[in-house]
């Protein structure tokens, strides 16, 4: 077997009517980030390096809800969180409440490698970032006009809105948002090398109009992110549902305790979650890849060493 990699840019109520000018840049970004991962594997980087590199690239891209392009809290600020996990050792690192760290996933990796802890949040995480000399920028760097508009709309509708690929509607526009609860957000990458070593990484800005201090599933090991010697998983969707569903751990637990295949385990978990809340990407130690979701769509892409690559948004539309 060879290496395999999968990445996502968020699951949610992505309307099939998504205009081309919103769709193409995202598909292009998925391809670009996938290529970063492919090149890294071809240069014999470890799965941990691969997932970090890919997620950094996704964070730097303004089209997804992580790093630049993060959705805003109810105060109009960004609070980013991320998590990374190494399958064989089960070492992990997580961060929450970041506002100036250019690449949250890299700080999560530093927590894993340079501290006796697993998870640092808020001021403590920011202070650690400065100690480590990781790149920090003014928090305005992450804020896009689209997200300012989304927050405004969410406040006007007075709801916490997880969707963010809904086309920005002008104020007073009467076209209803599909269900008001549509979810998008989070980026992630899972990878396995030719020896069965696995790694996963997830990063996000969270929910539009979230309460300041709200933590989602992404940095919670076993919820949004998990890897062991059987598989690596990164989840996306409605954080609160993914937390109570311990989604990422459950995929691995079903394989381990019930002997299910990667695909069966992932499908079981996604189908068991409330409709419209959950998507995930996962790879197994054997090099299998699966990307199920119970939302309208999920921005995703995958590639394997045999040369196969694919990018997709909606079900059954994986295109090479």
């Amino acid at each position: 077997m060879g290496w395999a990699i999968a990445l996502h840019g968020g699951a949610g109520d992505i309307p099939r009517s998504l205009p081309l000018e919103r769709r193409e840049p995202r598909e292009a970004a998925l391809r670009h980030c996938l290529q970063i991962g492919v090149d890294a594997f071809n240069s014999h980087r470890s799965p941990l390096d691969v997932v970090e590199l890919v997620v950094r690239e996704l964070e730097n891209n303004p089209h997804f809800n992580a790093g630049v392009g993060s959705v805003l809290t109810s105060n109009g600020t960004v609070e980013m969180e991320a998590c990374i996990m190494d399958g064989i050792t089960k070492r992990c690192g997580a961060v929450s409440g970041l506002s100036t760290v250019k690449n949250a996933i890299s700080l999560a990796r530093l927590v894993m490698e340079k501290t006796p802890h697993i998870y640092l949040g808020f001021d403590g995480a920011e202070a650690f970032a400065r100690e480590q000399g990781i790149e920090t920028v003014d928090s305005s760097h992450f804020i896009t006009p689209e997200n300012i508009e989304r927050l405004k709309q969410a406040k006007e509708a007075n709801r916490v809105q997880i969707d963010y690929t809904q086309p920005i509607k002008k104020v007073g526009d009467k076209i209803p948002v599909p269900d008001g609860d549509s979810q998008i957000g989070t980026v992630g990458c899972v990878a396995v090398d030719g020896h069965g070593n696995l790694a996963t990484a997830t990063s996000t800005g969270g929910l539009v109009n979230k309460m300041v201090g709200r933590i989602g599933d992404t940095p919670i090991i076993g919820a949004g992110t998990y890897a062991n010697n059987l598989c690596a998983v990164s989840a996306t969707g409605r954080g609160e549902a993914i937390i109570r569903g311990t989604v990422a751990r459950d995929v691995a637990a079903l394989m381990e305790y019930k002997g299910l295949s990667l695909n069966d385990a992932a499908t079981y978990v996604v189908e068991g979650a409330p409709s419209g809340t959950t998507g995930l990407i996962a790879v197994s130690a054997k090099g299998e890849v699966t990307m199920p979701f119970n939302t309208t769509g999920m921005f995703r892409a995958c590639a394997s060493e045999d040369g196969y690559t694919a990018v997709g948004i909606w079900p059954g539309e994986l295109r090479e």
Partner: protein
């Protein structure tokens, strides 16, 4: 089977030379909590209310590491965290970085019931607390003389502590057991090394709930989050069981300990005790931890691979036990 059951813990990892009077104090607190829980259960209070009630009691007592009596950060302050989970529909709530809320577990419950989220932390959680009008106290209220002394010694030894010392280190996993020559009041420092508290309950309707609360590690980095507020790691409850863990936070997180007890029952068909034993034996790698658990059938179980765990349990059929050692 059936009937209600309750278990409580005051932390895993106990100094084997813990003086008798401190052992007695601990047992008395655990007994008091059990009795409180028993009355509540006899009055048909639902499991979710009972676990909150008991953990509030433990937080208010300075003996264990939660609420008052919490371990101190490297800055000498208190940063508390807690989580609560209601088995029947797996609703959950968690908080971290709490500095002035008297009972973090109650704030966690409010997150679960009064916010659109599951987990709030630091200033956002504090703000929510103010909005909810929960009882607040100055950060000093939570700080005890014992812990101030412990922090000082921990800093001198340059280590982060629980029942054994973990040297602050670079890239190696930090789980070496280190002999400690450091003493305070003539006793080895680990006597004073505090831990987490928790409670799990199944009520007479078969509903399970779990709650965990802590001040975290002595001398921890500010902003450090442990296993206690993480659903699936330190706390978990579903329609089969309720679990609360304690011990080396990092090991509990990696092992997704609380969720695994339930997953073993659900996916592998193990019973509660088998699941608890499996998790302690196989999911901890080199880490030291313990846990308490109840099942919807009215069973109660606990397990630990550390030296001792402060715990107690009681069941409707009249059994009641409080213990520290194996």
């Amino acid at each position: 089977m059936g009937g209600w059951a309750i278990a409580v813990h005051g932390g895993a990892g106990v100094d084997p030379n813990l003086p008798q009077d401190r052992q007695e104090e601990a047992k008395q607190l655990l007994t008091r909590c059990l009795n409180l829980g028993i009355s509540a259960l006899r009055s048909s209070l639902p499991a979710i209310d009972v676990v909150e009630l008991i953990v509030r009691e433990l937080e208010s007592d300075p003996l264990f590491n939660s609420g008052r009596g919490s371990a101190l950060t490297e800055n000498g302050t208190v940063e508390m965290e807690a989580s609560i989970m209601d088995g029947p529909d797996r609703r959950c709530g968690a908080v971290s970085g709490i500095t002035t809320v008297k009972n973090p577990i109650s704030l966690a419950r409010l997150v679960m019931e009064k916010s659109p989220h599951s987990y709030l932390a630091f200033s956002g959680a504090q703000e929510f607390a103010k909005q909810q009008g929960v009882e607040m106290a100055d950060n000093n209220y939570f700080i005890t003389e014992d812990n101030v002394g412990m922090l000082k010694l921990a800093k001198e030894a340059n280590s982060i502590m629980f029942d054994y010392r973990i040297p602050i280190c670079g890239s190696e996993p930090c789980s070496a057991v280190v002999e400690s020559p450091i003493q305070m009041n003539g006793l080895p420092i680990s006597v004073y090394a505090p831990e987490t508290v928790g409670c799990v309950v199944v009520d007479s309707q078969g509903r399970c709930a779990a709650a965990t609360s802590t001040g975290g590690l002595m001398n921890k980095m500010t902003g450090r989050i442990g296993d206690s507020p993480l659903i699936g790691a330190g706390t978990y409850a579903c329609d089969l069981c309720g679990v609360s863990c304690t011990g080396e936070g990092e090991a509990i997180i990696r092992g997704t300990l609380a969720r695994d007890v339930a997953a073993l029952m659900e996916y592998k068909g193990l019973n509660l005790q088998e699941a608890v034993d499996y998790v302690i034996k196989k999911r901890l790698d080199h880490g030291k931890a313990g846990l308490i658990a109840v099942s919807s059938n009215g069973e109660v179980a606990y397990g630990f691979n550390s030296v001792g765990m402060f715990r107690g349990f009681a069941t409707e059929d009249g059994s009641m036990e409080v213990g520290i050692w194996e």
